[in-house]
């Protein structure tokens, strides 16, 4: 770990959007104009006091921040080791961390003068968060969602429609999140004159991985301050689930230069790494190019992207944000997995011990934190990003239990 001591993590990405060998801008020339415009606008606004003030105001008064850092006493007791603190992103307006980013990008959309926003969504949380800010600002909104996910996540589909968004089922490819992202890119390149694309995770071409990270970094900034207030020191470990990786990078980033804070990103182990049916590119993938950036991917021997599996639709993505790929390679963050069963067990355990129904995505982080805590001392502290609430998942869990809700 000597390498990381010389790295100033706040200096990344570089001007062309690279995190070491990862990131960049691997898109058709047809998108370059739109990305240049966005990069220019973001670099102008990100340090602008008026913009920051507007963002902070919305986070406080619309999202309901700061979100609490909550000591899960009975869960801690059950794990039998380190104290487990939950960063309660599930308490945000719309029920997940996704809204931090959509509020920020909506401000960018407003500045750009564009009248329409589009988004891709997997589980529907980002779609809902986008439809929400679009409704608030009176912008037209179209959300691309894989046809398979439309079926799996009908409550969120209806929420988006209630919010006035058009939900467009995507029938191409594997009909999931990655295909929704392809389709949103195609819409954007066609309608770039009046349309702003709100990407929901820290993937995609530069500057998206940077700006989505920056908007979500409020999670880590708060958690850092709250840790000092609540237990007088920085946490010993941070744990967050990683699909595309926006909630994880949001928690991790403000701590990256604190070399004593260990970090664990938890990928979806699906039916188990050995089965190949999972969504864990950092654990079992290889570097490649997809959706505008170089990163770890799940692919076959010919470089075709393969279908992934996870009980949680929000982690069911064959790529991962390029900053995570880099943090893995340099050893700053350890990437591990929790499989479907472990996540479901954690879902039930948190619900029963703390009265908190976690999203299945976040349940992966809880599952790993339980194992991690057991091997640590009672005087140590783990902060887990409880990135979303699980109300949207009760149908999935009921179906697994053989119950019709």
């Amino acid at each position: 770990m000597s390498k990381q001591e010389t790295v100033d993590f706040s200096a990344f990405p570089d001007a062309d959007g690279h995190f070491g060998a990862y990131g960049g801008r691997f898109v058709s020339e047809t998108l370059i104009g739109a990305l240049d415009e966005l990069r220019e606008m973001y670099s102008r606004l990100k340090d602008d006091p008026e913009f920051i003030k507007a963002f902070d105001y919305d986070l406080a008064h619309y999202v309901g921040r700061p979100s609490p850092l909550y000591l899960a006493e009975r869960l801690t007791e059950a794990a039998g080791g380190a104290r487990i603190w939950l960063k309660r992103e599930d308490l945000n307006h719309t029920g997940a961390h996704k809204v931090n980013n959509t509020v920020g990008q909506a401000l960018l959309a407003k500045h750009s003068g564009k009248t329409r926003v589009i988004a891709e969504t997997g589980a529907g949380q980002h779609g809902v968060a986008t439809a929400t800010v679009a409704a608030r600002l009176g912008l037209k909104c179209a959300v691309y969602m894989g046809a398979e996910d439309v079926k799996r996540q009908s409550p969120n589909v209806y929420r988006m429609k209630l919010l006035g968004a058009e939900v467009i089922p995507v029938e191409s490819g594997s009909k999931t999140l990655k295909d929704a992202m392809n389709e949103a890119m195609r819409d954007w390149v066609t309608n770039v004159d009046d349309t702003f694309y709100i990407i929901g995770t820290v993937a995609g071409p530069h500057p998206y991985p940077q700006l989505v990270r920056d908007f979500n970094s409020v999670i880590g900034r708060e958690a850092r301050r709250q840790s000092l207030e609540e237990f007088g020191q920085l946490p010993d470990a941070l744990v967050a689930c990683v699909g595309g990786g926006s909630n994880a990078i949001g928690l991790f980033h403000p701590f990256l230069n604190d070399s004593d804070v260990k970090m664990y990103g938890v990928e979806a182990g699906g039916e188990g790494l050995a089965t190949g049916h999972h969504a864990a590119p950092l654990n079992d993938g290889v570097p490649g190019i997809l959706h505008g950036n170089r990163t770890y991917l799940m692919e076959d021997d010919d470089g075709q992207i393969i279908e992934t599996h996870s009980v949680s639709a929000g982690l069911d993505y064959p790529g991962v944000g390029p900053e995570h790929a880099w943090l893995k390679d340099i050893g700053r963050v350890e990437y591990v997995t929790a499989d479907d069963k472990e996540a479901l067990d954690a879902f039930r355990q948190l619900t029963r011990t703390e009265g908190i129904l976690p999203a299945l995505e976040s349940s992966h982080a809880v599952a790993y934190a339980l194992k991690l805590a057991a091997g640590m001392g009672a005087d140590q502290n783990i902060v887990v990003n409880l990135s979303g609430r699980g109300d949207k998942d009760i149908f999935t869990v009921a179906a697994i239990d053989g119950i019709q809700v």
Partner: protein, 269 residues
């Protein structure tokens, strides 16, 4: 400009004859891998000057619905990049002159290894590559490997490509330049010949390479309109659509022959 490369030779020949280039795009393996090489020969027999062979990819982000479906069909036939290279080698056994450009996405090349790809492409008789998601700032390494082997690097230019960027791309491009005539994905509508003319005039100030125009060209009339101010027209979606709808391999060749023939006639008129 060396004339050892088939693309250079073909454009030099067309220029000497005062003719416009007809560039035809099909997806390798679409309609069955055994039918691709016969289709390529048919394209040439009907008047195609350069073939763009699409390398199928699971996530063809820049393509409209028609060509996406072509990629999906080709992947159902397990058409890998290696397979595409074998097809070009087979095509070369009967056709030593028609330039073939591989048009695809970066990941299959990344998987094979850029140097392995460059070697294999040269050995198969490929003349150039257009890698859609390798824009100028990311194209350097592959560009060099291909150039070292006398293969050409085809780049896209768009209505939104500014002058500074135009200059950067012109410095990397070889063979010809592919001007995307509209904002959107392949196969979109609303072609505007006036804007094409203005932009081609602008591009001319930065490069002497032949300029071919694509995206949205459906027939002889549109091909003729856009190529008036350039050196050629690229036609793709209308061919891929015909191949997708054809009831048999023979019917696909007949449809493709009719479409290309009509465009050829219009371009030469």
């Amino acid at each position: 400009m060396t004339e050892e490369n088939r693309i250079d030779r073909r454009f030099a020949g067309l220029r000497a004859e005062g003719r416009k280039a007809l560039v035809a795009y099909i997806v390798a393996g679409d309609g069955g891998s055994e039918n691709t090489v016969p289709l390529m020969h048919q394209l040439v027999a009907s008047g195609t000057d350069l073939i763009e062979l699409g390398v199928p990819f699971s996530d063809p982000m820049a393509e409209g619905p028609v060509i996406q479906k072509g990629h999906e069909r080709a992947l159902e036939h397990k058409t890998s990049l290696r397979k595409c290279l074998q097809m070009v080698a087979e095509f070369r056994r009967q056709d030593a002159d028609t330039p073939v450009i591989l048009m695809g996405y970066a990941n299959p090349i990344e998987k094979m290894g850029a140097e392995n790809f460059a070697e294999a492409a040269r050995d198969a008789g490929v003349d150039g590559a257009l890698t859609v998601d390798l824009p100028a700032e990311e194209a350097g390494p592959l560009n060099r490997l291909l150039s070292e082997r006398e293969l050409r690097n085809i780049f896209l230019l768009t209505p939104t490509t500014g002058d500074e960027r135009l200059q950067q791309i012109a410095g990397l491009a070889s063979g010809f330049v592919y001007y995307v005539s509209l904002k959107g994905v392949t196969g979109a509508g609303h072609l505007d010949p006036d804007s094409v003319r203005d932009n081609l005039t602008r591009i001319r100030r930065h490069t002497d390479l032949p300029l071919c125009v694509g995206f949205g060209i459906k027939d002889g009339e549109s091909a003729r309109a856009v190529s008036e101010h350039g050196d050629g027209a690229v036609v793709g979606s209308v061919l891929v659509s015909a191949i997708g709808e054809a009831a048999s391999a023979g019917a696909a060749r007949d449809s493709v022959a009719a479409i290309v023939g009509e465009i050829r006639t219009a371009l030469d008129a």
